[in-house]
């Protein structure tokens, strides 16, 4: 009996083989098995041989949408920055997409980062991905030497120990609170759609922080980012971050200091989060890849909650609904806009 993930992997291989063989796509973007337990590697298959290496597990934590614009560009003939793309159809890329990844692709289409005609999306309804920190914690931070996945449990082995844990207990926070696990756009589907989920307290993590006093919140924020090493993995893994020169890299003017000073790190995190407002799909990649275990996803989660409350909008659900911060309507709420405080009005 093969597991759910093994079946999904088999179907992905089949579809990829067919797409590559028929030359419908030039490249197929998926995942392959990594070299250390619980690691999966984003992987580009170019031919039928490569397609055999495609795989799937509960450890596919990097949002594949991130690679799409670059891969598509790599298939275009070289041209100058402002030269228009050549006439006629360009080679396509096949890509695996879970719910959030597909929502990011919708945002990428809306922001002209990818051309819908050039991607063949293979939808995979998501069962949630594992948080390796929760996993480490469940074995008392001991080194894990192998992980065997079953549908609802994980068998973890290390030097001198063996433990079976419930899969859902170590699923990432964003997946546990995800209400749209199904892909919203796709050309092929692996498995069957599971439907939207109802999670009444899905913003609980944010609400807990909102309930703190201003000072407590500031302390929480400072503490959370204090170990950041400014490696920018969180930024680089995010499909929303595609500026040719990021504000943190600019040196004329220098918007933000470059070293590990607390004030600079704080500014980086605040601005990064705000740049994702109304666009972030809570895919959780940023948090998954942080080597220092910083929960920066909570910053964007807060903005997601605000966006939902203020504009009744969730990013990536429909390519025809414009992003709230790129459009304007007279009924937009504006009471949060900072205005001059008149004397006597201060709280």
């Amino acid at each position: 009996m093969s597991t759910v993930n093994e079946k999904i992997a088999g179907q992905i291989q089949q579809i990829a083989t067919q797409l590559l063989e028929s030359k419908e796509v030039a490249l197929f973007l998926g995942y392959t098995q990594g070299t250390v337990p619980g690691a999966m590697q984003p992987f580009v298959a170019r031919d039928v041989e490569d397609a055999k290496r495609l795989s799937w597990s509960s450890f596919c934590v990097v949002n594949l949408a991130n690679y799409l614009p670059g891969l598509l560009r790599s298939l275009e003939p070289p041209r100058r920055p402002n030269e228009p793309p050549p006439e006629g159809p360009l080679p396509k890329v096949g890509v695996v997409a879970t719910g959030c990844w597909s929502r990011n692709m919708v945002v990428q289409i809306q922001e002209n980062q990818i051309d819908r005609e050039r991607v063949v999306i293979v939808g995979v309804p998501s069962r949630g991905m594992v948080d390796r920190r929760k996993l480490q914690e469940s074995v008392g931070q001991r080194e894990i030497t192998s992980i065997q996945e079953d549908d609802n449990s994980l068998l973890i082995r290390g030097n001198g120990f063996e433990k079976v844990i419930n899969r859902w207990d170590v699923i990432r926070d964003n997946c546990q609170t995800c209400v749209h696990p199904d892909p919203v756009i796709y050309d092929r589907l692996v498995g069957s759609l599971s439907g939207d989920r109802n999670i009444p307290d899905r913003f609980r993590q944010v609400e807990e922080i909102e309930a703190l006093s201003v000072e407590e919140r500031w302390n929480w924020f400072q503490e959370e980012i204090s170990s950041c090493i400014r490696c920018y993995a969180c930024r680089n893994v995010c499909p929303l971050c595609y500026c040719p020169t990021c504000f943190v890299d600019d040196s004329r003017p220098q918007w933000v200091g470059k070293s590990k000073e607390q004030v600079d790190t704080a500014l980086f995190h605040i601005v990064r989060a705000y740049h994702c407002a109304g666009r972030c799909t809570d895919c959780g990649s940023c948090e998954s890849v942080c080597p220092m275990g910083i929960k920066m996803r909570l910053f964007t989660r807060k903005l997601q909650k605000d966006c939902l409350e203020l504009f009744d909008f969730e990013p990536g659900l429909d390519p025809d609904i414009p992003l709230p911060l790129t459009t304007y309507s007279t009924s937009d709420p504006e009471d949060f806009i900072l205005t001059q405080i008149r004397k006597g009005d201060e709280k």
């Binding site: 990594g34 070299t35 250390v36 337990p37 690691a39 999966m40 590697q41 984003p42 992987f43 580009v44 990097v62 991130n66 690679y67 670059g70 891969l71 920190r133 480490q136 914690e137 931070q141 080194e143 030497t145 030097n159 170990s227 090493i229 400014r230 490696c231 920018y232 993995a233 930024r235 680089n236 893994v237 020169t245 890299d249 040196s251 220098q254 200091g257 470059k258 070293s259 590990k260 000073e261 998954s288 890849v289 080597p291 220092m292 275990g293 910083i294």
Partner: protein
């Protein structure tokens, strides 16, 4: 220099005493669930993880940032544009529990930083109390890179953990001076023979000489780079956690007429690393940047200095978000 021994129960007392003369640092469990370097605190119990802590010890020699000098930039100031050296670090630092790979990284980094006064001053001011490895993690591969789990290069003192005691071997004069207290005793015969046994374990093959023999352009043009680079997200995780990555950038930070020039970590993975003022970037594509990281460590560095610029600590293997495993790349390079 003769080895001594110390009971495990007394190590904390010894480190407590050392705190009078040094800022002592040791690995400690963070709230985030991993070990990292932190000031040693008496009474909290020593924590010694297998393998290396999250960050390398390079921050102690190559801090993020290093202030190179201060200046005043307001014309009305009589001191305007006169450079002022930063206050030098007065207290010496002591790092306890440094694994052989990390200790060796300081020796390797000293090669390109030989003429650098900032790095060398910190090196003079920082003592390394090493802890040899009885066990390795699955990501460790020091033996391929010219190191060994019982290597003592770069250390001032080398400790080997035994049942109830540590065997303490002075490696340098200043290490010898650390163990003059009566807390230390003569080692027993049996302790010495146990350690000899560990020392005698066989080391793997050092990749450096093979790589030095390879033709540079053949490595540069090898077909596997494309596949490696396609998964990479060009972040700084591997190079920032790496003990032997030492690249930096320099900036002036000025505020209200006062300023400082800082040196801070840079990474060849970042597009700006080689960006010219003209806008031209010789490493404009991801593949060129990814290739540089490995070529620098395994070809350019050994061609120039001898050893490979990697100590096999496995940090980059452990924390690369997309599992680019340097051991795989290294064996690809060895196969060219």
């Amino acid at each position: 220099m003769k080895p001594l021994a110390i009971e495990k129960t007394l190590v904390e007392d010894w480190l407590g005493d050392l705190c009078d003369d040094f800022d002592v640092f040791s690995p400690s469990m963070t709230k985030k669930g991993f070990y990292d370097w932190a000031p040693f605190q008496s009474g909290t119990g020593l924590q010694v993880p297998t393998g290396v802590p999250k960050s390398s010890i390079k921050t102690f020699f190559f801090p993020q940032p290093e202030v190179l000098f201060h200046f005043k930039a307001s014309v009305s100031d009589p001191d305007a544009y006169r450079l002022k050296e930063p206050d030098c670090q007065e207290r010496k630092a002591l790092l306890f529990g440094v694994r052989p790979c990390d200790a060796r990284s300081v020796v390797l980094n000293s090669m390109p930083y030989e003429p650098d006064p900032y790095f060398q001053a910190r090196r003079k001011n920082t003592l390394i109390v090493g802890l040899l490895c009885k066990e390795s993690c699955s990501t460790c591969f020091c033996k391929w890179t010219g190191g060994s789990p019982t290597g003592r290069e770069g250390m001032d003192l080398a400790l080997m953990e035994l049942e109830d005691s540590y065997l303490v071997e002075p490696v340098s004069e200043r290490g010898q001076a650390l163990i003059s207290s009566t807390i230390f005793r003569k080692p027993k015969e049996q302790e010495i023979s146990l350690v000899q046994e560990l020392y005698a374990r066989k080391n793997g093959e050092d990749a450096a000489s093979t790589l030095r023999g390879k033709e540079l352009m053949a490595l540069y043009e090898a077909p596997f780079w494309n596949q490696v680079s396609q998964s990479c997200i060009n972040c700084g995780t591997c190079t920032f956690l790496c003990p032997t990555c030492y690249c930096f950038d320099i900036q002036d930070e000025t505020l209200r007429g006062k300023g400082r020039r800082i040196r801070y970590w840079d990474s060849c993975m970042f597009p700006l690393f080689t960006q010219h003022a003209s806008g031209h970037n010789p490493r404009g594509d991801k593949i060129k940047r990814v290739r540089n990281r490995f070529m620098h460590k395994f070809k350019y560095f050994p061609d120039r200095f001898g050893p490979v610029s990697c100590v096999g600590c496995g940090r980059c293997v452990r924390d690369c978000p997309v599992n680019i495993d340097i051991r795989q790349v290294l064996s690809n390079m060895l196969g060219v």
